[in-house]
Every structure is written in structure tokens, then in C-alpha cells.
Assembly symmetry: C2
Homo-oligomer: 306 residues x 2
């Protein structure tokens, strides 16, 4: 199987594998490791500031990288995009919101524009705006997303935006998922959760351990953790996490939960302490397929054996 196609040519990659820009997980070290293993690593700067991004880009040590941003959040911090572009990323990925205000700036910079969508309608919209690459993200994905499943969304998006390269996202964790994505007509894959349980990923060691021991049956899409973090995520986006004591009790005991809402520090402390009975572990339904914390190179080497 040749893994060279329009996408690998456009991004100059050995393999059509891109690591998702997971907030708090995808730093410069992971991005560089993914790129060095033949894919493209994206730094997830969605909730961060320019200083953090500068530090993470420094960790790439001149290895090629891209930057992923949360579109609706970018309205609050437009300088983040301007700053990112000064470091000449290979690509900017925009997700969750209308990318229109940022298109010209990105296209003029020379960076490729990757737009992530969750519906066929949005895929057609971002094609019209001039997206260079479109990510069709299914509901299986960890973290934020929407309701349509990867399996039927990917070929429908491919048909709707042809000949623009499409990356399949949501559920891709091993060689089987990679092969299936290509069979569905995708040019490549955007991989999140599998790169969370990865040596080079940021994030708490215990959270990574949980990922290796959980099943997709135990994940849930909700807005609980956005409420607790006081993040104004717009509809229709919800976030997939592992279930924990907090999600199990969310609808049962308003008393305790009002305490969390009244004092955001309680949740913040749980996150800092790695108390995952309370703190969210963002994870996709493909956690069933993750049994070990591996290096980015090990993950990619296994994935391309199709």
C-alpha cells in the first residue's frame, strides 16, 4: 500500500498521520516526535497564551510543526494566531466555530489551512472558504466534538469536498483504524487519544495510565467540565471524557455540584492534583484499543503496518 497521496505531498510527509492539537496534552515535544516519526505534529494552543506557545515551539528544536487553535476562543485572543504565524508553522488547524475571520491571514502567511468539521454542511462551508485540508471529526473523538459518527461522516465529507484532502478523526488508534480511514476515502488521519497515552505528551502520568485501562463503554459526551471550567463553549459542541464520580453524580446531587459551580477553585485543585475522581480525562471511544503508554514513533510505526 502506497501511503503517498495529495495530502502527504501538500504537507511534505512520509505518512498521512497528524497528531491532534489536544489542549494541555499536545505540546512541542509531542509535535516534534510525531513529525520526526514521519507524520505532522500539531501543538494545541487553544486555551494558552503567546508565552506558552513560544515555549512549546522552542521545544520543537526546528522540527516542522503545526498549530491548532479553537476558533471561537480565538476571538478573545487574536494575537495568538498572529504570533503563531511568525514561527512559520506548516499548518494552522482551526476547529469549533466560524473560521472566516482568520482565513485571509492564514492563507497569506503560507501556512496550510486545516479546518475541522463535524457535519457535511460545515465541510461544504469550509471548502467554499478555501480550506486546504478538511478534518471530518466523528463523535467517537475525545474532547470536544459533535454527534455524527466517523464511519459514515468520512465518506460523505470526501464526496462533498473532493478533491480537497480529508483527514478522518475520531476513533483512529491503531493500524486497523488507519487502514479503515483510507478505505473510507480519507487521505489520512488525525489522531488524538492514542497520542495522549504517549511518552512525549504533556499531561499527568496518572491520566495516561487511566487511558490504558479504560473502555470506550465508559466514555461520555457532556458539557459538565466546560461548566466547571467556566468555558463558554458554543453549541453544538460537547466534550467526551472518561466517566468518573463527578459525571456519575452530576444529575443526581445538585447540592454538591452547586458547590463546584460556586467555587471554581475546587475543580481547579482537583485538576492540579490529578484527582481524576473529579477532574476530567478527555478521551475517545477508542481507549479500548490503547493498552500501553508508547512513544510517538512506536505508535506511528505500528499504525503504518497496514
Amino acid at each position: 500500500v502506497s501511503l503517498q497521496n495529495d495530502l502527504t505531498e501538500m504537507l511534505n510527509l512520509r505518512y498521512p498521520i497528524v497528531s491532534a492539537p489536544m489542549a494541555g496534552v499536545s505540546g512541542g515535544e509531542l509535535a516534534a516526535a510525531v513529525t520526526n516519526a514521519g507524520g505532522l505534529g500539531l501543538i494545541g494552543a487553544g486555551y494558552n497564551d503567546a508565552n506558552w506557545l513560544t515555549q512549546q515551539i522552542a521545544l520543537c528544536h526546528s522540527t516542522r510543526f503545526g498549530v491548532g487553535l479553537i476558533t471561537w476562543k480565538l476571538a478573545e485572543t487574536p494575537d495568538l494566531l498572529t504570533m503563531a504565524l511568525t514561527y512559520q508553522p506548516v499548518a494552522i488547524m482551526l476547529s469549533f466555530g466560524d473560521p472566516k475571520p482568520y482565513i485571509d491571514t492564514i492563507k497569506k502567511s503560507g501556512a496550510k489551512l486545516i479546518c475541522q468539521v463535524q457535519t457535511v454542511a460545515d465541510a461544504i462551508y469550509v471548502k467554499q472558504l478555501g480550506a486546504d485540508i478538511i478534518v471530518a471529526q466523528g463523535s467517537e473523538a475525545g474532547g470536544h466534538g459533535a454527534s455524527r459518527g466517523t464511519f459514515a461522516l468520512v465518506p460523505a465529507v470526501v464526496d462533498s469536498v473532493m478533491p480537497i484532502p480529508v483527514l478522518a478523526a475520531g476513533g483512529v488508534a491503531d493500524a486497523r483504524g488507519f487502514a479503515a480511514a483510507l478505505a473510507l476515502g480519507a487521505h489520512g488521519v488525525l489522531v488524538g487519544t492514542r497520542f495522549y497515552a504517549c511518552k512525549e505528551a504533556l499531561g499527568h502520568a496518572q491520566a495516561k495510565e487511566y487511558l490504558t485501562k479504560s473502555t470506550g463503554d465508559e466514555t461520555i459526551r457532556s458539557t459538565i467540565f466546560d461548566s466547571l471550567r467556566q468555558l463558554n463553549w458554543p453549541r453544538p459542541y460537547t466534550a467526551r471524557t472518561l466517566q468518573n464520580i463527578l459525571t456519575a453524580n452530576w444529575n443526581k446531587d445538585p447540592e454538591i455540584l452547586n458547590q463546584y459551580l460556586a467555587d471554581p477553585k475546587i475543580y481547579q485543585t482537583a485538576v492540579e492534583e490529578g484527582n481524576y475522581a473529579v477532574a476530567a480525562i478527555f478521551a475517545g471511544e477508542d481507549v479500548d484499543l490503547i493498552h500501553e503508554i508508547l512513544s510517538a514513533k512506536q505508535i506511528i510505526d505500528e499504525m503504518v503496518k497496514i
Copy 2:
């Protein structure tokens, strides 16, 4: 690509393609056409009685067929299973509920037992009960189902029940989906919606037309139509349909909707008249991929060109 494997051997098939036992859609004519084209056709007898099933089996004209039953509903009409077995179906498929009370009867009859599940936990359970074949059904599927997406569910079920053959269901409508299912480790596919928009399927001509013109963005999982039909579907099952005027207004105008609930004949009349502003069209998220009403043979011939 060889399409022969443990599943085709067990069921004596040319292709590992099984048509889903869709209530009101999958009659004897469709089942026979699917079998004659190289797959296995299942008659969907979930809501029907013995007389209906006898008539549909007669329409198979000695072509091999299977029968699909709704497990929780079977408790109300256990004779349906006994009667079905007298016609020596190749397989009985049980979905939605605990199959335990019916296992012995089916296994003793010589029919293969196909159990459809929506979680890894249920897959492990039906393996322990002795299922011969397991269907891993993702949320993309039309009609009843649950929340996990096909893409990550299938390989997780395969890993959990090996070496039992697994059929992927939910989102499979063309050669790409068939190839992707095999890449994910499935032995074959269970195909619903694509066989609804099929010449040999039962069901209103206008409903089939709608399927060829809709997008998966417009489908929705709900319990609305079960309420209207006074069917006591247990949790966690919901049904995926095309959205229509009724689903759009369900949460907005309790007044009108209480009328429907108070007088079931209003909804029943809409179904009989093919008034799809009100009546449900059960459909999967893969309707994007369905553009024409085809024969079962055309559908299968296209699907196996992988």
C-alpha cells in the same frame, strides 16, 4: 482481496454481507434477493405475528434466509421464535435485550445464533452465552441502537470476542464501508438503510425516495416515534430517523404533541398515508451515500468491488 473467511464458511455465503432485519422493510422478497446475490437476507419479524412471517417466508421460494427478532418484544410473543424455527432459517438474529431465555431453543434447532450488541460489555456477555456470530452495531445505524460509534466499537468488539466472527453494522452503505469494516477486523457487514432504498424492500415508495435525497446531518436519535407507537422500548435504545416536522416541534409545542399521544390513530394514519412530515423514516447516518433506489443485486455487486 479474498472475501472468504470463518463467517462465510459458517453461513455458506459467497460474500460476508447480511441484510439487517428492518421492521416493516425486510420481508421475504428482500431476504431472497440478498441471498441470491451472494449474501444472507434476514426477514425482520420484530413487530409481526406468525401469519405475517409465514407469508414472508413463502416469498423466499426456498431461497435460504434468516430471521431477525427484537429480544425484549419476544417475551410478549415467544411463539414467533418457535414458529420461525420450524422453517429452518439459516440464522436467528436477536437484538435489543437479554437473549439468554432463547439461546437453548435456537442452538438446539441448528440455526446459527446472531446476537447484536452496542457495547463491548454486551459483546462479552453474548459470547459467554454462546453466540455464533456477533453484530457490533454503531450509533450511525438507522432504527434502534445506542450511542457508541461504529469505527471504534468494531475493533474493540473483535478483540473482546475473538475468534467469534463479528459483523460491523451502522454506516455501511457502499464498497468503502465494506472495505473499512474488514480493515477494522470485522468478518463482514450487516447493512440496513442501503437495503431500505432497494427495489425488493417493503416500505412506501416515497420513503425510499426520501432516503435518496437526504443527508446524515438531518438524522436524529430519539424515543419520539416509540412513544407515538406506544412501544415500550427499554433503555438505552433510541431510534435514528430522518428529521421531520414532528421531530422539529417535539420539544417546542406540547399542545399538538399531547394530541398525538392522546390519540394514537393520528400517527398511525400518517404512517398508512405515507405522510412523512409526521411519520418516521428510519434511516442511518449513511443516507448521504444513497442516491438511487437499486436492486439488492446491484447493491451487493457494487459493495464487493473493493
